[in-house]
Symmetry: C2
Subunit: 225 residues, 2 copies
DNA sequence: TTGAAGAAGTGTAGCCTGCACACTATCTTT
DNA sequence: AAAGATAGTGTGCAGGCTACACTTCTTCAA
């Protein structure tokens, strides 16, 4: 048992922030997991996260944990839900405030710059066994992500600063896991009035080059409909 | 300072559950507040809530606090958001897991059966000064409630088991604070396929009696659209 | 240099949904 | 029996969503 540095009249639970980080790699929705180096669930994969410092905001804590594992900063981060079942951690009572993050595809490789902990991206449809109730947390996060597609421009956060309409369409097709009509999609995307042409053209492969777009208000999630 | 009964290697925050309870009284959206009997914010109004017991689920805690203040059970209760700013409580670090509840108008008077604490319903547009960050919590709760009107049948939770279409329409009109066309509203409500006629008629006042409806699946929030 | 390959880019027509709008029905009270 | 009050009912128009196919522009290889 830890030595006594702090005391209370009644027991306080521990509080952690855990982060579900989504990205799109290889045309698939993936998320970041780390392998646990100690008990409980030693060797299992788990969400990155850690205990709240007593002088730190919840969101600061989530941001810090995410940065420690992925090296990325400034990505979209949103509080998801708070999980507090009494038996969710065998050591002591732990309340987990879960966040979900959307990491642009470009920035994914920055992970290699993080510390020596064993971290990896997994396809959402090929997840390993997970520690604690993290499978449940991921389920809720995915549900939230899909729900937000309908009423916000959160999908744009999967893309780097500039992108083509085809790239945007592929993001949506990956997220909803079905094909979308090209003309209808482009009409819809332009009608949002959230993107503008940069004036540049992107030439990739042996075909007509694509116009390049950017968000009119970078880093902003708009509510639509 | 409290005596030392528990100790940790590093400080744990306190965790509370606070509940924003909405109801409709006098054609207005109202919510339940209690007056604080001790410091901090002594004499101020605040949301009902209290510290999490170490062996108790978060939702259990919210349910318990709500029942202690209102006497009502089995009402709709949903986790709202977790507030954890470092300075939100002057005594110690407190993480508040906020819930929001919808209390049917009929059951409101049960509150009188609760203990001697000073509790009262306030119109949302006539709130007093509030303790802690409870004004912010209420703002978020109201926002969530209004958002849910668009994609769920949460508004039905403001009504008792049986109701007329006019009563349902008044609930919606109160919540969105504007008038709704009667024919369009009834068409919409019936098309949801969430309510059925009980076969009874309700006669109130000197006018044609109204058909009485009930939810086909009582206590269930349906997602629509 | 030319043509084949491959993604980029573009318009229309039908359908369905949301919204505006006014009168008749049935009961109570006097 | 007439007045007062809320319950209950249908249509038409506009705007948004969906389905659907061909041309443009570039690269690469013959």
């Amino acid at each position: 048992m830890p030595t006594a540095h702090y005391s209370y009249a009644y027991p306080h639970p521990a509080v952690t922030a855990d982060v579900v980080s989504f990205t799109i790699r290889d045309e698939a929705l993936q998320l970041l997991l780390i392998r646990r180096g100690g008990p409980p669930f030693k060797g299992s994969w788990a969400l990155p996260g850690g205990f709240l410092d007593i002088g730190e905001d919840l969101e600061q804590c989530a941001t810090r944990e995410l940065e420690e594992e992925t090296g990325v900063r400034g990505v979209y981060l949103e509080q998801l839900y708070t999980f507090g079942a009494t038996d969710r951690d065998p050591r002591e009572r732990v309340i987990s405030v879960a966040y979900f993050a959307v990491v642009p595809a470009q920035r994914v490789q920055v992970r290699a710059a993080s510390d020596a902990t064993d971290a990896a991206w997994f396809r959402l449809d090929e997840l390993p066994e997970l520690a604690f109730d993290h499978a449940e947390i991921i389920r809720v996060a995915h549900q939230r992500l899909v729900a937000k597609l309908d009423y916000s421009t959160i999908a744009f956060q999967f893309l780097p600063e500039t992108f083509t309409l085809s790239e945007l369409q592929r993001v949506y097709e990956t997220l909803v896991d079905s094909e979308i009509d090209k003309r209808n999609f482009r009409k819809w995307a332009l009608a949002l009035e959230q993107i503008e042409e940069t004036g540049e053209l992107r030439r990739r492969g042996n075909h007509r080059p694509a116009r390049v777009y950017r968000l009119t208000q970078r880093e902003r999630i708009a509510f639509i409909k």
